[in-house]
Point group: C2
Chain length 232, copies 2
């Protein structure tokens, strides 16, 4: 366990993975500063979920920063001109169309700024290389490279003890993640993973993210608390 | 010279260094996409200067993105609670109080997102390790680490030819920079370097940045076009 005064910044999307990541950081004893972004994504419902998760998950603070990367376009998650794929239309190999250019680099950069300001030396991010191996910025080598950068880029890195970028889910299956979260008391009914929840806040049940989530509950032998709009 | 279709993103602050960097990128033949940030800094006058520099410097596009890193506080440049130092009060060693946590990391991350979207493979940044050696994120090892990160983090890095982070001023003195810019036709009267230009848009003449700029023109034997508010 860490010292009670030790602080961590936790990137929180409102999805299943980041809710579990927050629970892991809390379980290690960190004072957690949750950080979410409004980046013009279609799924603003996620931000409401992030607020619920931060509150029930014991974060001492939850900040939502406006990031205009949606204005730059270029991804199905932020650009209305690009249709969202159904699971069946997803590429089996390569990088999904839901890839957002440099997203995790931008998110970690902002988390790094916040960490240096609040005096946190650990930054938690819920990336996972198993189920989402198509995203280049969810791989262990990306995390290592960012940690290296963080410790060259900052006062804390140069003059202090430095930063650690923590990605505790990176090698877990979705079932491992869910089992870990259940053990730590995460209420997954508060989270949303859907790429396209519309205004009713319900998960679509057909997108790639819904499919991975449902499969994860299945494999974990945990009842799926998600209310899906479509019969799957 | 590069192919005429080759594109570059150029970080543009409205100061002397980034104006010179844009001129260097244009001189190499790139189609330049200039990128500036409104990050709650005191010197919004810089953004107006950036607009003038982008226009006269031949950028094909100039985008200003809102970045809320000022809200995070922690620097004399963004936080009204911290007094700006005069040159005489500056620390002779260590990191200046004008250091903004993770600033260049955040800026390069956004430039990387923009570069991948517009199809640019070169990102130019006007950092300089000679006159501002106190900033950790102005050092060559920071630039190298970011380039490494960029090529792990992105589709272009993994599947394409990758990105180059270009910092052409990094080893130049301020006089070298000014002489280079003059040779390339930069109109330095359009730029502003002052940390505290107030609403009249005039340089204060006493801050560290004003001092470095004036010394640079002196050393370069170039007439300083800056109108200073104070007699120096």
């Amino acid at each position: 366990m860490v010292d009670k005064a030790d602080k961590a910044v936790v990137l929180l999307s409102g999805g299943l993975d980041s809710a579990t990541t927050l629970a892991i950081a809390r379980n290690e004893g960190y004072q957690c500063f949750a950080l979410s972004f409004d980046y013009g994504q279609r799924n603003r419902v996620e931000l409401e979920a992030a607020g619920r998760v931060a509150k029930t998950g014991g974060a001492v603070e939850h900040r939502i920063l406006n990031l205009p990367i949606g204005e730059l376009g270029g991804s199905a998650l932020t650009d209305d001109a690009i249709d969202l794929p159904k699971a069946s239309e997803f590429e089996d190999s390569g990088i999904p169309v839901t890839y957002v250019p440099a997203r995790n680099t931008v998110f970690l950069s902002m988390a790094l700024a916040m960490a240096e300001i609040v005096g946190a030396r650990n930054i938690f991010i819920g990336v996972n290389a198993v189920d989402y191996s198509g995203y280049p910025d969810c791989r262990p080598e990306f995390i290592t490279a960012f940690e290296n950068l963080a410790n060259l880029a900052t006062r804390e890195g140069v003059q202090g003890d430095g930063f650690r970028i923590r990605a505790p889910l990176i090698d877990m299956t979705k079932a491992d993640i869910i089992n870990t979260g259940v053990r730590l008391g995460v209420d997954y009914s508060l989270t949303i993973s859907c790429y396209n929840p519309l205004t009713d806040g319900l998960a679509c049940g057909v997108c790639d993210s819904c499919r991975l989530r449902a499969d994860g509950f299945n494999m974990a032998n945990v009842a799926d608390p998600t209310v899906y709009r479509s019969v799957r």
